[in-house]
């Protein structure tokens, strides 16, 4: 790692601190924003997320090597952390830190995008089922029952078997498509209770059609639990991706996803524990940050606390 990488890394940390400071300033204007930052883990969580996102974006700057680059396959396998390779090298003599930085792109990206797919579908299905009820609700919820009946990783394994080498966008789509069931239940429950509220009746009485009622009155009020579950869901997706990659059925090697890195490092864990432990630590940190932010969001967006 040269001096410029260190400077870039410092810059990433400063950028993350700045993000936290700016968000905190903005948030202090509203009561829910203040509730968010009252959580002791909210600010550190936000920092961790901002830091890893910055590292992912600036990977070419903070990483001294290309993620696939085998520095010296003969002499530089399983090197322990040093000034040159801060997190050591893996069994294929690749720089663990560089792969970690580039891997953030893939792991975080898959987490965010797959969750976006899942929340979109889950939100739409849940809102439809909850608002229109009747046969549509019954049919959609039976589908959800089936979807929830098989452990997700098992379902994913079966589906992933459809391809020899799975492209990352397909993987994102698949994770999203197998991950919306719980969200749709949540949204449905929320919509069911919201549709009985008087302000929804008032909107209908004023002549608002179903589209406007759902879009303007129901969903904005159901947003809080959806956002919270999305924050927690990104973490779950990252864990799932890691698990799949670990089994060799996720992101295809040699692309540097954090799950892949653990899988690559695993066989040599006794000699070179760093190559499997650091990516795992990174996943744990990011998921923990997401959980912390999700918890804080849950409190901040709780409509019951809005009344006072």
């Amino acid at each position: 790692m040269n001096i410029w990488n260190w400077v870039a890394l410092g810059g990433a940390a400063v950028a993350a601190l700045l993000v936290v400071a700016v968000v905190r300033r903005r948030a202090s204007a509203s009561a829910s924003g203040r509730r968010f930052f009252r959580h002791p883990t909210a600010a550190p969580g936000l920092f961790v997320l901002a830091f890893f996102v910055t590292v992912a974006v600036a990977a070419p700057l903070v990483a001294p090597y290309k993620p696939y680059q085998q520095i010296d396959i003969v002499h530089l396998q399983n090197r322990s952390p040093s000034t040159r390779n801060v997190l050591g090298t893996d069994p294929f003599s690749r720089d663990v830190w560089s792969r970690l930085a580039y891997g953030a792109r893939i792991s975080l990206g898959i987490g965010a995008l797959a969750m976006l797919v899942a929340v979109t579908i889950g939100g739409a299905v849940g809102a439809t089922a909850g608002y229109f009820r009747g046969w549509m609700d019954a049919a959609l919820m039976r589908l959800v029952d089936v979807g929830l009946a098989m452990p997700r990783i098992f379902a994913m394994l079966v589906v992933v078997a459809l391809w020899d080498h799975i492209a990352v966008p397909v993987l994102v789509l698949l994770i999203g498509l197998t991950g919306w069931f719980a969200t749709s239940r949540l949204v449905r429950a929320e919509v069911l209770s919201l549709r009985e509220r008087d302000f929804v009746a008032a909107a209908r009485a004023l002549g608002a059609g179903p589209g406007r009622v759902i879009g303007r009155h129901v969903l904005p009020n159901a947003a809080a639990p959806i956002i919270v579950s999305a924050a927690l869901g990104i973490g779950n997706v990252m864990l799932l991706e890691a698990g799949l990659s670990f089994l060799g059925m996720g992101v295809p090697s040699p692309a540097p996803s954090w799950g892949n890195m653990i899988a690559d490092g695993w066989p040599k864990i006794a000699v070179a524990p760093w190559s499997a432990t650091f990516p795992g630590l990174a996943i744990s940190l990011v998921v923990m940050a997401l959980n912390a932010v999700g918890d804080a969001l849950r409190d901040a967006l709780d409509p019951r606390k809005e009344a006072v």
Binding site: A201, A203, A205, G207, A208, G209, P220
Partner: protein, 331 residues
């Protein structure tokens, strides 16, 4: 003098709620809640009908069924000559400009994620009444009409007090310039001092805009001050209907009499001859046979006929209807 034709006419309105359904929500419902069970009344233009009853009497469902916020099972409702229950979605939306509703809980009836201004602008946009600066002018005028500073437009519901919220609810109902308002317990959730403010406002608005009100309430004292005619509901049926003066002076149904006597009077020196009814209101899922009130009826002449034969709502005095076999011999 010929009485003007009624603005609102309700005939034999019925709404039964299905209980839990079997077979994944597709089977036959098991128990039926007879929320509204054959209700009829008329309201002349610019008059107020007070609809009174305890919880579970079906008064709220009646109000909502008239506006088709719940779909009634049977009956006929006309507003200004239009048959409400046969309208298609498009015509119904057009009719929504003529009839509006104000809710009991002024917090629950306002969307917590919208500002007052957004809430008032929405109906103007839906019905293409006004946009842009014209809409802003109208919103300001509406707020002023209900006694709020136009500056409140930027507020969210949780920033307002109960009375202010209810004023916003009224302004929203008025925004489409309706002729008929269903007021569903509009002051029940408010403190006494604020309750009086809102009642006065409603009275003024009625005067100024010649509004017709269906005033739903459980508080007979409040209704006394605002209604021209009063209907008393019990277990989904109207048991007595009369001009306000007559009803309060000489109630004919024993339920009305008991209800009136149960209202606490803020005067420690007043003679109290409270009739305390025994037991609870029966479940509307299993209404008693015969007269629905007979299990709790304190009438001394109560007999087998009350237990078996449901009394019809019939005229017992000029303009006064009661559903009691002994309406001629009130308590």
């Amino acid at each position: 003098m010929i009485a003007p034709p009624p603005l609102v006419a309700v005939q034999d309105l019925v709404k039964h709620f299905a209980g839990e359904r079997g077979w994944f929500g597709l089977g036959q419902p098991r128990a039926v809640v007879r929320a509204v069970d054959g209700v009829s009344f008329e309201i002349p233009p610019a008059q107020t009908l007070g609809l009174v009853g305890e919880s579970g009497s079906g008064k709220t469902t009646t109000g909502r069924a008239i506006l088709r916020l719940v779909e009634p099972d049977r009956g006929r409702v006309t507003v200004d000559g239009l048959d409400v229950l046969t309208l298609g979605p498009r015509e119904l939306r057009a009719l929504r400009r003529r009839m509006q509703i104000v809710f009991q809980d002024p917090y629950g009836s306002l969307n917590p994620r919208m500002t007052v201004r957004q809430m008032l602008a929405e109906p103007l946009a839906i019905h293409r009444i006004a946009t842009g600066p014209d809409a802003e002018r109208r919103i300001a005028a509406l707020l002023e009409e209900v006694g709020l500073d136009p500056g409140f437009g930027r507020s969210y519901p949780h920033e307002l007090s109960g009375g202010q919220r209810q004023r916003v609810g009224i302004a929203r109902a008025l925004s489409v310039e309706p002729q008929f308002l269903v007021l569903d317990e509009p002051v029940s959730a408010l403190d006494v001092s604020v309750q009086a403010q809102v009642l006065n406002l409603l009275a003024e608005l009625q005067q100024r805009r010649r509004l017709t009100y269906l005033f739903i309430a459980h508080d007979l004292a409040v209704v006394k001050h605002i209604a021209d005619e009063v209907a008393v509901m019990y277990l989904g049926k109207i048991v007595e209907r009369a001009p306000a003066l007559a009803l309060y002076a000489a109630p004919r149904h024993p339920y009305t009499t008991s209800l009136l006597s149960a209202v606490p009077v803020p005067d420690p020196t007043a003679q109290r001859n409270r009739i305390v009814l025994s037991g609870d209101v029966p479940s509307p899922m299993h209404p008693p046979p015969g007269c629905p009130f007979h299990p709790r009826c304190p009438h001394p002449k109560k007999n087998d006929r009350c237990r078996t034969e449901p009394p019809a709502l019939r005229a017992v005095a000029p303009g006064q209807l009661a559903a009691c076999h002994f309406a001629e011999e009130p308590l």
